[in-house]
């Protein structure tokens, strides 16, 4: 007798990935502490591997359940949309804390800093050089990813693949330029509260760029494998929302940390 589901929700099958991903997160964060205190990255690398591999398998399973098994109904979709929105809101609060720290220290610099910002001896980046290029790159990538979305909606698949590829390339370009800036920076994280706030804020932003680029790249692969339809392509939409969020955070960083803060 066939099993009949009399509701539109997805009761997920048993899976080892939530547990292994949690273990990975624990090992990763413990490894981070070990790196900071004992200058040893082994545990961190192991934790990263466990987390990344588990996440990959978990999300692969979700693609299988949705695209190949058809288990993602409209109700499931709306649940995931709400989930992504709430997640991004939580990330907004995460970055809010680093911006708070930045403004706390920079709006009324302490006497130890000579009551000036940037503190004496700090050579901030010229906001009109690479940071401006990075701003243009991210804004352009926002345009290209929107073009991708419209192409998917209008079923012009060649255009959607090309523009999504462009978006990924722009994301990689940003990461390379920012890595170069980090390498060539005349100040480090240890250089007073300026260095701390600068690298905490831009560093976490950089991690989010890498995550966002990866998410977009996976969407590109799924797009090329015809996983998406013109009316059901949430994997791509979530990646695009995340990418826009990353772009907005950069704009805040650029205006406040790079420009006003220099």
């Amino acid at each position: 007798m066939m099993v009949v589901k009399k509701h539109p929700f997805h009761m997920v099958d048993m899976s080892p990935w939530p547990l292994s991903t949690s273990i990975g997160a624990l090992v990763m964060t413990t490894g981070l502490v070990k790196w900071f205190n004992q200058f040893n990255i082994n545990l961190l690398i192991i934790g990263l591997l466990i987390t990344v591999i588990s996440s990959f398998q978990w999300w692969r399973d979700i693609s299988r359940e949705s695209t190949y098994q058809g288990l993602h109904t409209k109700k499931v979709l709306s649940g995931m949309k709400l989930g992504m929105v709430l997640f991004i809101i939580s990330e907004v609060f995460f970055f809010l804390s680093f911006f708070w720290a930045f403004f706390h220290s920079s709006l009324s610099p302490s006497v130890e800093l000579g009551m000036q910002w940037p503190p004496m001896g700090i050579q901030p980046f010229n906001p009109m050089q690479i940071p401006l290029l990075n701003t243009i790159i991210l804004l352009s990538s926002g345009v290209s990813v929107t073009y991708t979305h419209h192409s998917i909606l209008e079923k012009t698949m060649t255009h959607s693949k090309k523009s999504l590829m462009l978006t990924v390339i722009l994301g990689l370009y940003f990461s390379c330029l920012q890595a170069l800036e980090y390498w060539e920076a005349p100040f480090s994280m240890a250089d007073s509260v300026y260095g701390s706030t600068f690298f905490m804020a831009t560093g976490f932003h950089g991690i989010h760029v890498i995550v966002g680029t990866t998410f977009l790249f996976i969407s590109l692969i799924r797009l090329m494998k015809n996983h998406f339809s013109s009316y059901h392509h949430f994997g791509f939409e979530a990646a695009a929302w995340y990418w826009h969020f990353v772009d907005v955070v950069w704009l805040f960083l650029y205006i406040n940390v790079y420009w006003w803060g220099a």
Partner: protein, 78 residues
């Protein structure tokens, strides 16, 4: 009888309205140094800043800043 000794402290500065007067002390100290650098040690109006920072600042801070100036590590330009 000896002359009445005038007792006073730094006047109210609306730039520093709160209880924590650290920045008032530091600003007065820096202003004194910049004043005397620009106008010379004997320029009388600089005395205003001198009186202010002497009233407001803990002596230990003044000593520390003076030695920073000597070492060239004072955190702001004079």
């Amino acid at each position: 009888m000896a002359d009445e000794v005038k007792i006073g402290t730094a006047p109210f500065d609306p730039r520093f309205p709160n209880q924590n007067q650290t920045k008032h002390c530091f600003t007065s100290f820096v202003d004194y140094k910049r004043c005397t650098k620009l106008r010379g040690e004997d320029y009388a109006p600089c005395k205003y800043f001198e009186k202010a920072y002497n009233s407001l600042c803990p002596n230990a801070w003044v000593e520390k800043w003076e030695s920073q100036i000597e070492e060239g590590t004072f955190p702001t330009k004079i």
